[in-house]
């Protein structure tokens, strides 16, 4: 990408909300902060705002760099910027770290003003609905009554869908990418293994490890390694790593022998060094609990009846964690409600991770859709 298509150097802002927020679980957060970034300019009638919701391990840092020397840009820099599909010359784009996060929004690592200690294990379990409610407070704060679009991939797509249900009149378009109307049993199973890795790490201390000045690195590392296996397709792994060896010959040991292992260890270590275990537990739980059809006896069509937005649903052929069949369930329910909806099932090799990849056709579809979003 050329420099001219970058949003350049950015910095986050923090908004404080002093009105208590009652969560779906019944717990009440007396006050909270949300850290967010914006790109582009909000127009005079505040009609050009796009909210981009992040997935499991994402952040509010969507695009740009924090300094010229910053090595990596935000996590969706390939699609956001001047002239890019999410065109910052036209749109005012917002990224926000979700409640319970570990990148600046109020979460388990934050100090609980009532105790002057980190929330830790006492931080409530949050849901997709809670995130959307908190994001709506941010929208109010920014003077945005209705979003031109709310979008996201994976867990972010679930938030985009929830927006159309929680605040139907405040979303004109929803772009739901590589998502699902709920998790399959297999998906919950993966999340449970990841949580068990963390919960059984002796350095987790029931979630109050901050006081012990340790981090449950082993648990986080395992959780992330497992996650990475499921985000890639067998083919993509085969192509990227195959059976390539780390060294010229095998060493008959349990050190890294294969490139695949090296990749997983690297990803696991990196993640364990920067992500909060309590946040990870809550993010995976939010995924597990998301199920808008539950209150309608499993009838997704009935659940989506309140939605007024127009939809673009996108899935990727090799995504087995959030398979195209799951996206088609959303499409079917929207069709039954006669909502305006388009569905692109993109041929992609990268598995679930494909939603982050700069594929030409994928980006062309997003660009074409957003060009109609006034």
């Amino acid at each position: 990408m050329s420099e001219s298509s970058s949003v350049g150097v950015v910095s986050p802002k923090t908004a404080h909300f002093s009105e208590p927020l009652t969560l779906k679980s019944g717990a009440v957060l007396p006050a909270f902060d949300l850290i967010y970034e914006t790109y582009g300019k909000l127009n005079a009638d505040s009609s050009n705002a796009i909210l981009v919701c992040h997935a499991l391990s994402g952040t509010h840092h969507l695009a740009g760099k924090y300094s010229e020397e910053d090595k990596y840009p935000g996590w969706w820099d390939n699609i956001i910027g001047p002239g890019k599909p999410l065109d910052t010359d036209r749109f005012f784009i917002i990224g926000v770290n979700n409640l319970g996060g570990c990148h600046g929004s109020t979460g388990p690592m934050s100090i609980n003003p009532a105790t002057n200690q980190p929330w830790g294990s006492s931080f409530p379990v949050v849901t997709v609905e809670d995130w959307v409610a908190a994001q709506a407070r941010l929208a109010n704060h920014l003077g945005i009554n209705a979003f031109a679009a709310v979008m996201g991939g994976s867990l972010g797509g679930m938030q985009a869908l929830q927006w159309t249900l929680s605040y139907p009149a405040r979303v004109r378009h929803a772009l739901v990418i590589a998502a699902a109307p709920n998790l399959t049993a297999q998906n919950i199973a993966f999340n449970e293994v990841a949580r068990q890795a963390i919960l059984t790490d002796p350095e987790f201390y029931g979630g109050d490890f901050y006081a012990h000045d340790v981090v449950p690195r082993r648990g986080l590392r395992l959780a992330r390694m497992l996650g990475h296996i499921t985000y890639l397709s067998d083919d993509a792994m085969g192509e990227k790593f195959g059976r390539k060896l780390k060294h010229d010959e095998v060493e008959y040991s349990f050190d890294v022998e294969f490139e695949m292992e090296s990749y997983l260890r690297y990803q696991g270590d990196k993640f364990a060094g920067e992500f909060d275990a309590n946040t990870y537990l809550r993010m995976t739980r939010a995924l597990d609990y998301f199920d808008p059809a539950l209150a309608f006896d499993g009838d997704l069509s009935a659940a989506l009846k309140v939605a007024q937005a127009e939809f673009l649903i996108v899935s990727f052929t090799s995504d087995w964690r959030f398979s195209p069949a799951r996206s088609r369930e959303i499409v079917k329910a929207l069709l039954e409600n006669e909502r305006r909806v388009s569905y692109a099932e993109l041929t992609a090799q990268h598995g679930h991770d494909a939603f982050l990849m700069p594929d030409d056709h994928y980006h062309a579809v997003i660009r074409a859709y957003l060009e109609r979003v006034a």
Partner: protein, 205 residues
């Protein structure tokens, strides 16, 4: 055998207008193999329909999104399992019949999902096609614009053939319209008609 674009466009509009006459305003319409969505765009403008297209080709899906047409990317050959019975007022298969493999299954699926079905196809019995064969070449025309080696068409049929198909599958034809250059043909339709249009429903419905 090239026809100027503006004549093609005018003929296409006449074909679309003929289809539109069979559809009630504000109907819920499903167009199978909708291409770039131009028929749905026309029907939306003319009749304020709620329309959805099904299309498998990436470039066509992108064109639909650009044109603001609701498009569902899927392969027709897999059937319409994501669609409830009798959930559309009209299901259209416009100039796509000849390109599908599982013809019987797709027609059955259309009858299941649509209260009414519209099928249009290029008449292989059209005299120009017959002449082409007599001369010794596979026909290439406005409605059959492909060379034999790169055609998506696998199940060509004549108007007689399709009449027989309907009779053999208990399909009750409500209306049939044969067009050449967008104009109705009443005399010797299987010989003089270039485009065949059928409107039918399940006999049970």
């Amino acid at each position: 055998m090239s026809t100027p674009n503006f004549i093609q466009a005018a003929t296409e509009r006449r074909d679309f207008a003929a289809i539109a006459r069979w559809i009630a305003p504000k109907s819920k319409v499903l167009d199978l193999g909708c291409g770039d969505g131009s028929l749905l765009g026309y029907l939306r403008g003319a009749l304020d329909i709620t329309g959805y297209g099904i299309e498998k080709d990436d470039a066509n899906v992108l064109a639909c999104v650009k044109n603001g047409i609701n498009v569902i990317q899927m392969d027709l050959e897999a059937g319409l399992s994501g669609f409830e019975a009798q959930s559309f007022d009209v299901v259209i298969l416009s100039q796509t019949l000849q390109a599908v493999y599982h013809t019987e299954h797709i027609v059955q699926e259309m009858l299941r999902v649509g209260k009414e079905v519209i099928v249009t196809f290029p008449n292989f019995g059209y005299w120009k096609h017959r002449l082409s064969i007599v001369i010794g070449n596979m026909p290439v025309s406005r409605n059959l614009p492909y060379q034999w080696y790169d055609t998506p068409n696998v199940h060509m049929c004549t108007i007689h053939d399709f009449d027989d198909f309907c009779a053999g599958h208990s399909i009750h034809i409500r209306e049939r319209l044969i067009l050449t250059d967008g104009k109705p043909v009443n005399l010797l339709p299987n010989l003089l008609g270039s485009l065949a249009m059928y409107r039918f429903a399940n006999t049970l419905a």
